[in-house]
């Protein structure tokens, strides 16, 4: 042990900023929130142990919990595939040797940098306002746009569009993946008279599967955690009629509007388990559709 420490001390010393941060700022709070999830805690009075009551209440009594789950699932299930398809489409368009490609890549990546910010969420609210840009354009063509944000039928779609718009990072990863596909395969396919659709499904998709899988898992986790857009556009409450009550928005409200830190911690743990479950499912299905090039079989 002593010998081990002495030998590796310098290494750990160099790692210490990260290690200290990890244990103090990540593991510590995570364990604290696990403890708090079994308590009633309103911040100003000490936490009070109530066992599993928070979890019982959540699953048996809390209608808004189920509503939040429904909204979040809807968002994940719709926005993630659309975003990936869009990202792949743009990546394939950019993969053709276009001039000044670097500029296009930077340009298309820009929304991903901006997209999570408060400023863009506010901008989005302005765009989709009843008197906003979108409806003004619709009016030019004689149409009358709906109340995008205050009608629960449409409100979630504005956020789905916002999510799709942030296609930059999966696009870059797709681009790298496309570059790695050997051109000979396409040439061989062309000689065999395969059309573009056939080439896409027979060559691009199977060879890109590991990259698609990677993007899918990453974007799914991202979508489950999505917060700031819904928070800003709904005025922090999930309005209208809870149609924007993302799980994280509900969690935030329980914690900071109603000071139920214990209950909010329980919600956070349930979200963690849901994300873990879905990631596990994705990994389990992956063995049926994702094949790596170095695999022999």
């Amino acid at each position: 042990m002593h010998k081990f420490l002495r030998r590796n001390f310098a290494g750990y010393a160099f790692l210490s900023p990260w290690l200290i941060g990890f244990f103090l700022l990540a593991i510590g709070p995570i364990l604290a929130s696990l403890y708090l999830s079994f308590t009633k805690y309103n911040v100003v009075r000490p936490p009070q142990w109530i066992g599993l009551d928070n979890y019982f209440y959540m699953f048996q009594m809390d209608q808004r919990f189920w509503k939040a789950l429904q909204v979040t699932f809807q968002f994940v299930v719709i926005s993630v595939p659309l975003k990936l398809m869009f990202a792949l489409g743009v990546a394939m368009a950019l993969d053709k040797g276009i001039r000044a490609i670097g500029w296009y890549r930077a340009l298309f990546y820009l929304p991903s940098i901006l997209g999570g910010s408060i400023a863009v969420a506010i901008l989005w609210r302005q765009l989709f306002n009843y008197d906003g840009v979108i409806n003004s354009i619709l009016r030019l063509f004689g149409g009358d746009g709906p109340y995008w944000l205050s009608d629960p039928k449409y409100s979630l779609w504005t956020l789905i569009v916002l999510a799709i718009w942030q296609f930059g990072s999966p696009m870059l990863i797709f681009l790298a993946g496309l570059r790695a596909i050997p051109q000979e395969l396409y040439e061989a396919a062309e000689i065999d008279a395969a059309g573009p659709v056939r080439k896409f499904f027979a060559i691009t998709v199977p060879l890109l599967a590991p990259v698609i899988f990677f993007n899918l898992v990453l974007q799914m986790i991202e979508a489950f955690k999505s917060f700031s857009g819904a928070f800003i556009i709904s005025g922090g409450t999930g309005a209208p009629l809870d149609s924007l009550l993302f799980f994280t928005v509900y969690l935030y409200n329980e914690a900071f509007a109603f000071l139920r830190m214990g209950y909010a911690s329980a919600l956070a743990w349930v979200l963690l388990l849901i994300i873990a479950l879905f990631t596990a499912i994705a990994f389990w299905t992956s063995k049926y559709w994702v094949h790596y090039e170095n695999e022999r079989g």
């Binding site: 999930g238 009629l241 809870d242």
Partner: protein, 433 residues
């Protein structure tokens, strides 16, 4: 959660800007020998401007003490305060409202002022009613910085264009919802602007209406007061005005449910000619618009039972975490007594509780403040008695009301259905709290 980052960023950058300003003003580092007092309030641009000016005056008058100000909008104020309580780093002096003050006294975040009264804190010229409002179980906790009541404000230009004359067409200090409907529609027809905001999702108006119907928002035992009939009648009353064309369309009002920013009021955005608020907000709202505002009470039922109360709008309180309670209470004292400082504050937080301050302000009032003062004179004796502060869980009941009212505005469900749903949820919330 990027919300946090933004707030922290605002906080630190404000603090940084503040200290830069201090270095500039004093020409030497300020932190070594000076006593620091932090003052935290929720506000609006007008209030922030006045309060920072007052802090400058105080710092100029008291060498050795440096007061610094921090401010947030109402929605974020209590979130930040709560995290500060948990972290044990509350500012010395905080702003509190009548509704939530008692929770903070109960949990010990706000401490009694009795030890400082007559020494660093002078309350000899305060109205007794204001002192009573800040006293709990015989201990004095909270220094009232203004009285407040429910107020409707209207755009005098639009009213005039439509030929609606306050005092002739309707009595701004006693008019019914039916009269409101009539002149709201007349304004819409004459000017194209809806006559009034739609208050279907406005809890403040709903609480007013409940008292007008002879009930209380909360009964003595803490249970919820409004009945199915009252909730239904309230929403039907506004539905009638909306259906007649007196308000903006339902979906538009739905987008504003629960929004508390003054800049979103119908009178400010130009979407309507009449909006509803707390009387101390008049000065702030007038600051956001060109047209001159007039004041009226909330509409009433034909029985004319008063529904609005006069209550302290805000208090300043001393916190448990204050390192220099003497310096902090001296600053609080100046905040309500010093004539130079109160002259700057004016009536922006409400009608001051110090008679000497009121007299000194009288000759220099701005037009909006004059409207405020006249309004207060006219409603004396016409208001409801002050009830006990609401129980915990009331904030959530309010949010639930705003949320469910949206389905009334969108016409998704019938009013009786939504009313039943709301009362069930309110009961469940209060039982859980």
């Amino acid at each position: 959660m990027s919300k946090f980052n933004r707030r922290q960023f605002l906080h630190t950058s404000a603090g940084f800007a503040g200290s830069v300003a201090l270095f500039g003003a004093l020409g030497r580092p300020a932190f070594a020998q000076d006593t620091a007092v932090r003052h935290f309030w929720w506000g609006n641009p007008e209030r922030d401007k006045r309060t920072f000016a007052v802090i400058d005056i105080y710092n100029g008058k008291t060498p050795g003490v440096v007061v610094s100000g921090e401010t947030l909008g109402f929605a974020d104020y209590f979130t930040k305060l709560t995290t500060q309580i948990a972290g044990g780093n509350m500012p010395d002096v905080i702003q509190q409202g009548y509704g939530v003050l008692f929770e903070y006294i109960a949990n010990g975040a706000v401490v009694p002022l009795d030890d400082f009264v007559g020494k660093s804190l002078d309350i000899s010229k305060m109205d007794q009613s204001a002192i009573d409002a800040g006293t709990v179980d015989g201990k004095f906790y909270a220094l009232s910085i203004g009285a407040n009541s429910h107020m409707a404000v209207f755009n005098t230009r639009l009213f005039e264009e439509a030929g609606v004359k306050p005092g002739e067409t309707f009595d701004p200090y006693a008019y019914t919802y039916d009269e409101l409907k009539e002149f709201a529609v007349a304004i819409k027809e004459a000017t194209g602007v809806a006559g009034t905001d739609d208050n279907t999702a406005d809890y403040q108006n709903f609480s007013d209406f409940t008292v007008q119907k002879g009930a209380n928002l909360y009964n003595e035992d803490g249970s919820y007061g409004p009945t199915q009939e009252i909730v239904e009648e309230y929403w039907s009353t506004w539905a009638a005005i909306r259906d007649a064309g007196g308000t903006p369309p339902g979906p538009e009002s739905a987008a504003l449910a629960g929004v508390s920013e003054l800049s979103q009021l119908g009178v400010v955005t130009g979407k309507s000619a009449m909006s509803y608020l707390w009387s101390n907000q008049l000065v702030g709202v007038q600051g956001l618009m060109q047209d001159v505002l007039g004041a009226a009470v909330y509409p009433n039922t034909p029985e004319m039972i008063p529904g609005s109360v006069i209550q302290p709008s805000q208090f300043v309180c001393l916190t448990r975490d204050s390192g220099n309670p003497e310096a902090a209470t001296a600053y609080m004292s100046a905040f309500v007594n010093d004539l130079d400082m109160t002259a700057v504050l004016g009536l922006e937080r409400g009608i001051p509780s110090n008679s000497e301050v009121r007299a000194a302000l009288e000759p220099n009032l701005s037009p909006a403040e004059k409207v405020s003062v006249e309004f207060f004179d006219r409603i004396q004796g016409k208001t409801a008695p002050l009830t006990a502060p609401p129980p915990s869980g009331s904030a959530e009941v309010e949010q639930t009301f705003e949320r469910l009212a949206v389905s009334v505005l969108l016409g998704e469900r019938t009013i009786p259905e939504v009313a039943t749903d709301f009362l069930n949820q309110a009961k469940a919330i209060l039982a859980r709290a």
